[in-house]
Amino acid sequence: MSQSILVAVAVAYLLLLFAVAWLVERGSGRVSRLTGSSIVYTLSLAVYCSSWTFNGGVGKASQTGLDFLPIYLGPTLAFCLGPIMIRRMLRISHANRITSIADLIGARFGKSGGLAALVTIITVIGLVPYIALQLKSISVGFSALSAGFGPAQPASEPMLTDGALWAAVVLTIFAMLFGSRSISPDEHHPGMVVAVALESLLKLVCLTAIGLFVGYGLFNGFGDLFSQAATIPDIQAVFQEAPANYGYNWIAMTFLAFAAIFCLPRQFQVMVVENTDERHLDRALWLFPLYLLAINLFVLPIAIAGRIMLPVDTDPDNLVLSLPLAAGHPELALIAFLGGLSASASMVVVETTALSLMVCNDVVMPALLRIRSLGLENKPDLTRLLLWVRRLVMVVVMALGYFYMRHDSAPFALVSIGLMSFVAVAQFAPAILGGLFWRGASKAGAFAGITTGFLVWFYTLLIPSFSRSGALGEEFIAHGLFGIELLKPYALFGLEGLDPVTHSTFWTMLANIGAFFFVSLFVRQSPVERARAAMFLGVADPDEEARFWRRTALVPDLMSLTARFLGREKAVAAYASFARTRGVDPATAVQADAETVLFYERLLAGVIGAASARVLVGSIVEEESLGVDEMMRILDETSRVIEANRQLEEKSQALEAATTELKAANARLQVLDRLKDDFVVTVNHELRTPLASIRAFSEILRDNPDLPTDERLDFLRIVVTESERLTRLINQLLDLSKIEATGSMPADKASVDLAAVVRESAASMQQVFAQSRVRLAIKIDADPAFVVGDHDRLVQVVINLLGNAAKFSPPGRGKALLALRRAGEHLELSVTDNGPGIRTEDREVVFERFRQLGDTMSDKPQGAGLGLAISQRIVAQHGGRIWVEGGRDGGAVFKVRLKAAHTKATAAGRVRVPAG
């Protein structure tokens, strides 16, 4: 492909990024609305996938199989802890206007400027190789595309035709324009973020396109690809056999990636500093891992295809480009190149922006402010100085990366350079996690841990990387420092058998965590540190900080100080909104209290870092220093209040739960009460009706002694019938109340033969059926049929049901059937009649007390309406179920199902069944 087309495409692409970023920054149109979306936030997090993913991941996969994956599994695991770890980082950083990883560590350990500077310097040293790696990948891709394909040697080209140089220049300009456009206390760069999100989208699309092309263009689907791979022994050896070779290195890489997701400056920048809404994190918690999964889905297939189709000496880091080229699809190679370019570009831009912030705030500005002869204290406007320092730092960092790449990186694969940087930044993980979750973590401990960890990294990874490339000689690696075997950098103290990165990870972490813990345990924290620790652990409210330092100053002094770094306009606007929230008139307030001083300090911290802000504000405030005792008293008091608050909240929740329970119980009671009232009313009515008629007829008989005999007999018969009905009603009521009062089975619990019960009940009802001229048939399929229960009660149930059948079947042609059969574990008793039946909607309510179907006003009630209610309770007490169904010929079928007693032996004896 001709170089000019390539350059044109690359330039056009970068210009597009400029345009998008510019549109967003201008703050108009649809593009700028993107900034507040969780999708853009998630995509900007994907700046994690640099060209290392795009080219290096495939390269590594082609060499050693799946062990490129831990780099993406680690962040997924870290995001599992997101609600605890990342959210706390977000909250603390927003409350204190923390803008970088160095600031975070510095702020946690007593706003220590020294610690922040140390972190910054380590980060720069650790990340220059990483930036170099990105430039190298651009350069390699560029030369591979323009020269066809094959082993590329970018370092041999003259500098001016090196694609990486021009890429570095353009990217530096981009970073300068959008990463340090103006000074603002929250350090948001919406233009940069949207551009990065766009690039993340692009690299995902590109890699997926290549993957699909490989799967379906070069092979017949991925199954075909894998089966072809299985036929080539050395490929199969890498990808399918001997899985046990993933050992410590897999674990080490998972750990490094876990740490990198919050320790890398660019990740901290996009994840914490650029976050505009905490809720975006909820979405990103799963969407970001999903992105990582998606972008890695095709890495292995592409790598295998590369191994199958390309000559052995192809640069593995170039597979993504070489495959489409070899297949005769230069346009796909161009897409692949663009994907790689965007991966590199976004990483480089964000990383240099983050680094420039750190270096400017934590190294350069504190140093400049200390040099009295510069007279910075008297300069009215320092914003331009700040901006230019940052831009200069960007240029320097990029230049360092570029020269490292030209000098050093040729013999390394992309992944091993990247991992070296990962180990370097992982040195901050113990201090950050310890700082966030361990109150005892002290500044001295953090210093010791980071320093020793860094020194071990320097010795076991960085120096050997120089000597590998010829700067120090092989002697050092082979025989150790001064020829002492125990000090061999890749086998320290004789620890052999690990690859350099795993080896270094182990020793650095051992030294780092060990030093961090032991020094923290044995060196006392200063009061300031303890206060900060309380704040970081969420024990104390960030705004409580004002109480620890009773500092006062004059508002104009603070204002002019802030205006010098932030610009007068922004400083005035920020103070005005702060004053409004506190109900102070910004125009007249002169004396600044502790809270106002704290506000100004945080405002400044957002611009020049916590440590410098503290020094600057400290120079103009009057500090009434608190004694250690007093400070500790306040701190303890605060934590006690917070603890008490928490307990109170828990108690009130418990109380609320109890209240709702009580309410529910009360509602139940009210229902029961109403039912009882209904019951009393109905009983009253039911008792009065027969009484009234008995009384009425008795009075007639008394007052009319000369009634004809026939009539007299009629009346007397009515009186007797009504009396019987009354007796029956009272008996039933007594039964019901007895059953309901005890709530348990009556005393008799013996084994009862249902078949006998059926025969007995049928016999005693014979007369009734004969009177109502209904034919009763009996069908017993289970004989004997033992259940546990009360014989008399069960007879009562059957008689009740039979009585109903007799009552409702039409006289003359009425037919009733009493059947008993076995149904699995149960015995089922059914009484079928051919009466009018029961409507579906009534089938539940017939078992309620005094429920008589039909119109009670016109029909003469044919019973008290208690029979079924009593039957139901008896059956329930026997642990059974009674219900009614529609019969085949329109009648009703009442069914009772009782549990059969297991064996005759247990059934025969008297068995105690738990009550209830």
Binding site: C80, W250, R283
Partner: protein, 76 residues
């Protein structure tokens, strides 16, 4: 308060499960091929996808569900 703690605990549990399932030695138990695909490839992406799905369920679904649950237990 209770809800937030429960959600956090679940995420920590998920972290532990993920760490164990996606690292050696459990990882090394998977080998050979499945339907012609490398079994380890399927295993890693399968477990990974599952992990993401559960994170999604916990972090997106839980506030609403928890509210409903609260209501349920109140009415009971």
């Amino acid at each position: 308060m209770l809800r937030r703690t429960a959600r956090r605990d679940r995420m920590v549990g998920l972290f532990a499960a993920g760490t164990i399932l996606l690292n050696p030695p459990i990882l090394n138990l998977v080998g050979g091929t499945l339907f012609g695909w490398p079994a380890l490839y399927l295993y890693l992406f399968g477990v990974w996808g599952l992990l993401i799905a559960v994170i999604g369920l916990i972090s997106e679904g839980s506030p609403g569900q928890a509210n409903e649950r609260d209501k349920d237990s109140a009415s009971r």
